[in-house]
Amino acid sequence: MLQVYDTEITSRLLLGTAGYPSPAVLSDAVRASQTQIVTVSLRRETAGGKAGGAFFELIRELGTKILPNTAGCHTAKEAVLTAKMAREVFRTNWIKLEVIGNHDTLQPDVFALVEAARILSNEGFEVFPYTTDDLVVAERLLEAGCRVLMPWCAPIGSAMGPQNLSALRSMRAHFPDVPLIVDAGIGRPSHAATVMELGFDAVLLNTAVAGAGDPALMASGFARAIEAGRQAFEAGVLEPRDMAVPSTPVIGKAVFS
């Protein structure tokens, strides 16, 4: 069981809703993943007026909790505005805060992120900040009122998988009690299993599922990998040794087990 803000969730997979071949495929993927939280981008789907209405209705019908995001925002001000709009549209205080610093790499602007996180937390939002693996930034975000952190493991949509394992390890060690959700950069189930084995609390996926040949099948594959990684972490992973060590003494006799 994982607690984020005051909500308890059993599924450790969060799913983004962008870029699927169709809403029907998205809904199959959500079901196959058994996720309890989906993210939805407000910015891209609100080109004026009550746009996005029908799509948002489909998202609501998925029956999961909705974590709106501020994808596509480049300044703190824009992100704050989008968060407020999201609160209206989805009637939730949750906001996945994204402030993009580089249009090309989609790397977060951590300075604007901290600023926006502070403003939104003060206004009663429960902020899920998309950040890097930098520990000092993470501390600032917690000071600003965040009680969950969402570090990347590689750039958004890159599918490269964990690029800096030791940074992720120190983040886990540094913040043992903060829910840490790896957001962005996961390409395949083994990547997700890897970060879960390190003790991260959950994984947020979008492109890796949406862009797969069979998104629903991939979602279910990911769900299992995440579960497996979590079980490995809870069970205590055997650390690699310098040489092969037989599990039973083998001196001079055959081993029957």
Partner: protein, 346 residues
């Protein structure tokens, strides 16, 4: 089998009275054609003063069933492949079957590999072969995917000539008429092809906004649609006559029709410029927005309630799929037991 029945004079005492079609977009016109050539009397009401007032006017006009398979259902490829022959037969000389070229910037060539694994009906080209096919793209790309069987047409020209053909076949058009109330009593069947106008009445239908623009330049020539892959902003350029190029298109979950957004314009132009710098010097002659009506599975549906059929949800595939849908509607009218793949009994 094509059944020939004269209006009001069906076999077995079955009366085939005139049919009213609402909407002169690609679906309405293609349906009118399929009915008229089966000898059925057809009237078309269109709320605008002219043909093609809706999404169809802004389409790329690509008949690209193999490329579309990248994200579309298997049905789209299967049914769409036949559309190329349909358009060639209906509008001789107006369809170019030059294939489609798919390219990506050097750093995004993995997108090409991904595209290749999702699709069939293509072959790889190297730099030399690209130059042979599209001399103006020489030296710009090391590899490309080529879909030789695909075709394209100019949607505006196609709609207008289809309109002319229909009038010559005796189909009556009533422009500037938003309601069919005044004429409806004369018709046994009504076929609603009103596209996004159905949104308020059909809860399952949604709009997917597509923004596009036209560029004019004499500095570059293309013979076929070129798709330029990008992880976030894929784009295509479709050549038209007289140095015109249609550049499209965004995909936004929204049913608003308003003018193109600055960001979208920037993204489209950026991609066009990356495809070839000559587009940077081109004139922007037009920007436009169409709303693609779509069902949750992004596949079209024929729904029937009483004596009204609705044909809608053509999404990105109005030109590609309307021949198959029109055929199904015509068969449904003529033989009540006809099984349509797209039929969704309301």
């Amino acid at each position: 089998m094509v059944l020939q029945r004269r209006p009001g004079n069906g076999s077995n005492g079955c009366q085939m009275r005139p049919v009213l079609i609402k909407g002169a977009g690609v679906v309405g016109l293609v349906t009118a054609y399929e009915l008229a050539r089966r000898g059925i009397e057809v009237d078309v009401v269109e709320q605008a003063q002219h043909i093609g007032a809706g999404a169809s006017w802004f389409a790329g006009g690509m008949l690209a069933p193999w490329c579309e398979r990248e994200s579309a259902d298997e049905k789209v490829e299967r049914v769409g492949a036949a559309a190329i022959e349909w358009w060639k037969a209906a509008l001789p000389g107006k369809v170019a079957q030059e294939g489609t070229l798919v390219v990506a910037a050097a750093r995004d060539t993995r997108e090409l590999d991904r595209f290749a694994t999702r699709t069939t009906g293509h072959r790889w080209l190297d730099a030399e072969e690209i130059a042979e096919l599209e001399p103006d793209l020489a030296g710009r790309f090391a590899r490309a995917l080529y879909f030789p069987r695909e075709a394209h047409l100019d949607p505006r020209e196609a709609l207008s000539s289809l309109g002319d053909t229909l009038m010559a076949m005796g189909v009556r058009f009533h422009f500037g008429q938003a309601t069919d109330a005044t004429v409806s009593h004369r018709f046994d069947w009504r076929i609603d092809c009103s596209g996004r106008a159905r949104l308020p009445d059909d809860a399952a239908l949604r709009g997917v906004r597509g923004e596009m623009l036209y560029l004019r330049t004499g500095d570059i020539q293309l013979s076929r649609p070129v798709r330029f892959l990008h992880p976030r902003h894929p784009l295509y350029v479709v050549p038209r006559r007289q140095g015109l190029f249609m550049v499209g298109a965004t995909m936004i979950e929204s049913e608003t029709c308003g003018p193109i957004a600055a960001r979208s314009l920037m993204e489209l132009l950026n991609a066009a410029y990356a495809l070839h710098p000559a587009f940077g010097e081109a004139e922007i002659t037009e920007t436009g927005t169409g709303v693609r009506p779509a069902y949750p599975d992004n596949l079209p549906r024929i729904t029937r309630s009483g004596s009204t059929f609705c044909v809608n949800g053509l999404y990105r595939h109005g030109f590609l799929l309307s021949p198959a849908l029109a055929h199904d509607v015509a068969e449904c009218l003529l033989s009540p037991n006809h099984q349509s793949e797209f039929h969704d009994e309301a």
